[in-house]
């Protein structure tokens, strides 16, 4: 019986080795797909930009994009520049909607395809008007960066307003007043984001509560793009109230998590105690 079984195993093993061969489909569809890493290489834009035939100044674009907020949010090359990343031959075809890199003055409209509210306020602001009038005013990438050279598009935050950046065009005084007007609200947004991160780590599904925060911060930042300090100050209270509601929800959830922790700790102690009692009973000498 034993020998028969072992013989069968040996025959099966060797025959499987000989007959099975290399399962290409399996390899292609499953094993060699390191789940996201290689998917990027399927993107014709990236494949070409990282290749040796690319001009050196454009070679870093994929790398800089991977460090950007766009990459974090799955915004890929074709989402802004158009074209077809799945078809190398047609990737830069106008028929497939390829736009390429915009001219300096066209950048606001280029970004504004997605950031609609911000575009509207920007165009009405001093920054937007200056660009329109002189062709030299600041556009989106002046403050937020792009993926050229050593830049990458940063997540919007209050530190973007700084003396070094603003004084390239004008004095820092007005910008500083604006920064002060934004500070407390931005700080609160940052705290709420940190709290959401904490809740996620605790295994809480936060997407439903994150949506109002996202829309509030998007609207608040759109408002900032008017570069109108008095308007920002006037409407700050409205945004603070909305953030307060989100904060209360987060605090309620954190309170619920504390209750859960205490409750399960109580059950833990209960069973530990019962275990100790059982241990002592089992060690008690019997008649």
């Amino acid at each position: 019986m034993r020998y028969l079984f072992i013989s069968l195993l040996v025959i099966l093993t060797f025959s499987s080795f000989a007959v099975g061969g290399y399962k290409e489909k399996f390899e292609r569809e499953f094993m060699s797909q390191p789940w996201a890493g290689e998917q990027a290489e399927e993107n014709a834009c990236i494949a070409c930009h990282v290749s040796d035939k690319m001009e050196p100044k454009l070679k870093n674009i994929p790398q800089n994009w991977q460090m950007s907020i766009h990459y974090e949010n799955n915004v890929s090359c074709h989402d802004c520049h158009g074209g077809d990343p799945m078809d190398a031959a047609m990737s830069m075809s106008r028929q497939r909607g390829f736009i390429g890199a915009p001219k300096y003055t066209e950048v606001p409209e280029f970004c504004g395809k997605c950031h609609i509210g911000i575009l509207k306020n920007y165009l009405e602001s001093g920054h937007g008007k200056a660009l329109k009038k002189t062709g030299k005013g600041p556009n989106c990438v002046t403050c937020h960066g792009s993926h050229k050279e050593e830049q990458f598009i940063q997540k919007a935050n209050i530190d973007i307003i700084n003396e070094q950046r603003c004084t390239k065009c004008h004095s820092y005084e007005r910008a500083m007043i604006m920064k002060q007007a934004l500070f407390l609200t931005e700080k609160k947004i940052g705290e709420l984001e940190d709290n959401f991160k904490r809740l996620k780590k605790e295994g809480v599904f936060t997407a439903d509560d994150e949506k109002p925060l996202f829309s509030t911060q998007a609207e608040f930042r759109a408002l900032f793009h008017t570069v109108d300090v008095s308007l920002v100050k006037e409407r700050t209270d409205e945004f603070r109230k909305r953030l307060d509601i989100i904060e209360k929800n987060i605090h309620d959830t954190l309170g619920e998590l504390r209750f859960r922790k205490n409750f399960s700790a109580f059950i833990l102690l209960l069973f530990t105690g019962m275990g100790v009692v059982l241990f002592l009973i089992s060690k008690t000498p019997k008649e």
Binding site: F5, K23, F30, S264, L268, I281, S282
Partner: protein, 363 residues
């Protein structure tokens, strides 16, 4: 009143007799160790899974559009739903660990040897059913983690020529994980596997009761080396009574099991719930670093390492076959693994390999 009910039951089912023969007069060997309680602990673990699972079943909706939301509702809106879900999630992982430990200790003590071959085979099948429980239950929350981990695991059979695609297709109900897969896994998890598992438990307990509990081979002379040609129940007249002596030990271990479960729920509630476990399944977006649950990591990594995938999967099936039929392959009379250097060496090697592959698969 109480006495009348007791007498009524006594006449009909012989309660006193049942208690006497099954509990107080049923004796276990004097040197029985704590590892002999692991089967009972696994059974208690299964009971916890059944009870918590029934609570989850009340609120869970097995549909791709509603599964994720229904699980989130259990976690946030259903009173104490989080407790039952956490017990089910943590319990499933600890139970698998306990069943594995039970098999390892039975192996080390040589308790699979005749006449307990069928007890071992039944236990091995229960381990496989437990893993299938894990696999099928993993998909049900319909998260990114469960969706893609199931994609990985159900892709494994495709390495098999001729029948591999059919097996994968049978599991998924198509080429990809879909609502059909969810329906199949749900049916498997709550309707098909439980009766199979309960039947195996019944067989396992019947065999233990019929043959008698095995003595620990360490320290005492082993009486079971004699040739076995006819049925003889193993009894221990000089042993300790099952109740209360051994039952207390079993309950102590169950308390440790439950305490361990609540330790994880209290201090590591997100241990098995990374970010992807809180994101709804998106078939169009493959997350980074997706991998199966810890108990499938070793076979997964092994399959990745062996260049010929069919050979890889064949080796795994053969290993499972050897594992299940091991009592028929091992003809040595010595039960104590510490007196068998070759077997001990092979065991340590396989254990180390399993640990290395598991960690390798994780990182």
């Amino acid at each position: 009143m109480f006495n009348r009910i007791k007498k009524w039951l006594e006449v009909r089912i012989g309660l006193d007799d049942l208690t006497r023969t099954q509990l107080t007069e049923y004796r276990v060997p004097k040197n029985v160790n704590i590892f002999a309680t692991l089967g009972f602990v696994a059974l208690a673990g299964y009971a916890i899974q059944v009870i918590s699972g029934i609570f989850l079943l009340i609120y869970y909706t097995p549909h791709p559009d509603h599964a994720f939301r229904s699980v989130q509702d259990i976690m946030t809106r259903v009173p104490y739903g989080w407790l039952f879900r956490q017990m089910h999630v943590m319990g499933s992982n600890i139970m698998i660990a306990v069943v594995m430990l039970h098999m390892v200790t039975v192996f080390l003590m040589g308790n699979y040897k005749r006449p307990r071959e069928l007890t071992w085979v039944g236990g091995g099948l229960m381990l496989l059913v437990t893993l299938t429980f894990g696999l099928s239950g993993y998909l049900l929350p319909w998260t990114q983690l469960s969706y893609w981990a199931t994609t990985v695991v159900t892709s494994m059979p495709t390495a098999f020529p001729y029948v591999g695609d059919f097996i994968a297709s049978l599991l998924r109900g198509g080429d990809y994980i879909s609502g059909i897969t969810l329906g199949r896994f749900f049916a498997l998890h709550i309707a098909i596997l439980p009766p199979v598992f309960l039947s195996l438990i019944a067989l396992h307990i019947f065999l233990i009761k019929r043959i008698g509990i095995s003595a620990t081979p360490f320290g005492t002379s082993d009486e079971e080396k004699r040739p076995l040609t006819e049925y003889k129940k193993k009894t221990y007249p000089d042993g300790s009574p099952y109740y209360p002596y051994f039952f207390q030990k079993q309950m102590l271990m169950v308390m440790i099991y439950v305490a361990a479960m609540f330790f994880l729920i209290t201090f590591m509630p997100a241990l098995f719930s990374p970010d992807e476990a809180n994101t709804p399944a998106n078939p169009l977006k493959t997350p980074f670093h997706i991998r199966p649950e810890w108990y499938f990591l070793a076979p997964y990594q092994m399959l990745k390492l062996i260049p010929n995938k069919f050979l890889g999967i064949s080796i795994q099936i053969i290993l499972v076959g050897i594992f299940l039929l091991w009592p028929f392959l091992d003809s040595q009379k010595e039960k104590n693994v510490f007196k068998r250097p070759v077997l001990r060496g092979v065991f340590i090697f396989l254990l180390a390999l399993w640990v290395v592959l598991t960690f390798w698969g994780r990182y």
